[in-house]
């Protein structure tokens, strides 16, 4: 799904209905998507402040296990989604890239907070910050805020679930193709302008 395709949540439903597959494939799709979208397990990965709000989202009051984000996995091989919670600096970028590569397909990325989206408060006059985590790994959902409230993270998770619902077996690898990003290109070209 291209970024430009997304207009509002209704457009996601339209996109889902537009899939011109045969009856068998549509049924299998909906079954697989139902399973995938309701068991997104995140990686325990938090670099700074947003991580605390991510913890709060997982704890008693907000409890995002309600949405199937059941447990944090410490190993990238068991995780489905990586929530980039916090600033990614130049030294951390190769580690993040490696973590993403170690995750098994299908994998998703949520950029949480201003730092992960664009560098945030550390954008101007700096030498150390990746100005947007999309320079390193492809991002599915952006959650603005500094730090975002846990409710915002919950909404981001729900948006990711809607996005997963639009996937079909037919264009399984559409994500990598459309973003114009080569997943297997290990040489990093981080633009820090």
């Amino acid at each position: 799904m291209k970024k430009t395709d997304f207009k509002d949540n209704e457009s996601l439903d339209e996109l889902q209905a537009k899939n011109e597959n045969n009856f068998f494939l549509t049924t299998v799709d909906s079954l697989i998507n139902w399973g995938r979208s309701n068991s997104i397990w995140p990686l325990t990965f938090a670099t700074s402040c947003c991580g605390i709000e991510m913890m709060a989202a997982g704890a008693s009051r907000h409890d995002f296990a309600r949405f199937g984000v059941e447990v944090y996995r410490a190993s990238p091989r068991q995780a489905d989604v990586i929530v980039v919670a916090g600033t990614i600096v130049n030294k951390m970028a190769p580690v993040l890239k490696r973590l993403y590569d170690q995750m098994a397909d299908p994998k998703y990325v949520i950029a949480m907070g201003a730092c992960a989206i664009s560098g945030g408060p550390f954008y101007y006059n700096t030498y150390h910050v990746i100005k947007g985590v999309e320079h390193v790994i492809p991002v599915d959902v952006y959650i603005p805020g500094c730090p975002p409230r846990p409710e915002a993270l919950l909404y981001g998770i729900m948006q990711l679930q809607r996005k997963i619902q639009t996937e079909t077996l037919k264009n399984k690898y559409a994500k990598e193709d459309n973003s114009g990003y080569n997943q297997y290109d290990l040489k990093m070209d981080i633009k820090n302008d």
């Binding site: 605390i52 600096v89 580690v95």
Partner: protein, 377 residues
Amino acid sequence: MEQTTTKREDISSIDYQEFVINMGPQHPSTHGVLRLMLKLKGEIVEVVQPHCGYIHRGIEKMCEHITYPQTIHLTDRLDYLSAHMNNEAVCLLVENALQIEVPERVKYIRTILDELTRLASHQLWWCAFGMDMGALTTFFYGLRDREKILDIFEKTTGSRLIQSFNVPGGLMNDIHKDFQKEVKEFIKYFRKILPEYDQLLTGNVIFQQRTKDIGILTKEDAINFGVTGPSGRGSGFSCDVRKIAPYSAYPYVKFEEKLQTKGDTFSRYMVRMHEMWESMNILEQLIDNIPEGTHAVKMKPIIKLPEGEYYQRVEASRGEFGVHVISDGNKTPYRFKLRSPNFMNLSVMHHISRNHKIADLIAISGSLDLVIPDIDR
């Protein structure tokens, strides 16, 4: 209960192969992106070498380009669990340098928010420390009560975690009209809940065996390495800035500096548990006596510090937080140096975890309560 396996091991007689492993940067028990290079002999840690810089955000350098009121938005994000104290250090520095006396009301509100921040921070530490030990229940109990403090913050400051509520010359806004009532309600609630924390974790036999006699830091070492805050006080090092150099409304309140003498992981744990009680005592003394007045003095639109060097320290929830500013008379500082407590607390890591098992390293790093962006700055 007999203490058996938790003493420091004598590794001279063991003939294991040496190997080096990395703990981190992505590891749930390092509380962030700390990377520890461990040299192991079997299961026993020989060398702990911390590698910093995975969240180096250049805050000191950035502060040289921005004005003093803008600085508070960056010092917030150093140690995000004691954001209010970090801001207070900058504000006090500017106010002292310009010889501005803030209203009594500001001092009281600052101190109340300080102590609320300390409570919230210690609650989160308690969650994380229990979780490091494998007790997942603490995570849910601690964060349940922490949300109540965050609600109070949100009503008054407009933000949950990073408040930016202190500005040079006072506060951003006045307090919410329900503030006093809600703080009192919270104290009443938390006084009832805190013994439950002790029942859950403190008396637990497994927990005690994993923490007692682990990572002993002597008083001399604490002073030599500059370990401050609850970690230093666990070794009997009297280092509470609230007592030594009182600021804001701390001269008006009576409280005890809780010290432990043994210096092991359990002592550091107990200091923090006692500090939660003391914070509530301080809050109770202040909350009914907030004087009337304005919430800020009028400052000049452009703040310029006179030429010279200034230093201001406050007690953040992890130790002494200091700001050292060299001013050349301009609206931006010439040099902005931060003395962050976590960096000093990390430096002692190798010293106290040598010859312990690798599982004890988790307990030690949890008891030091490291916040990584404060280390790397």
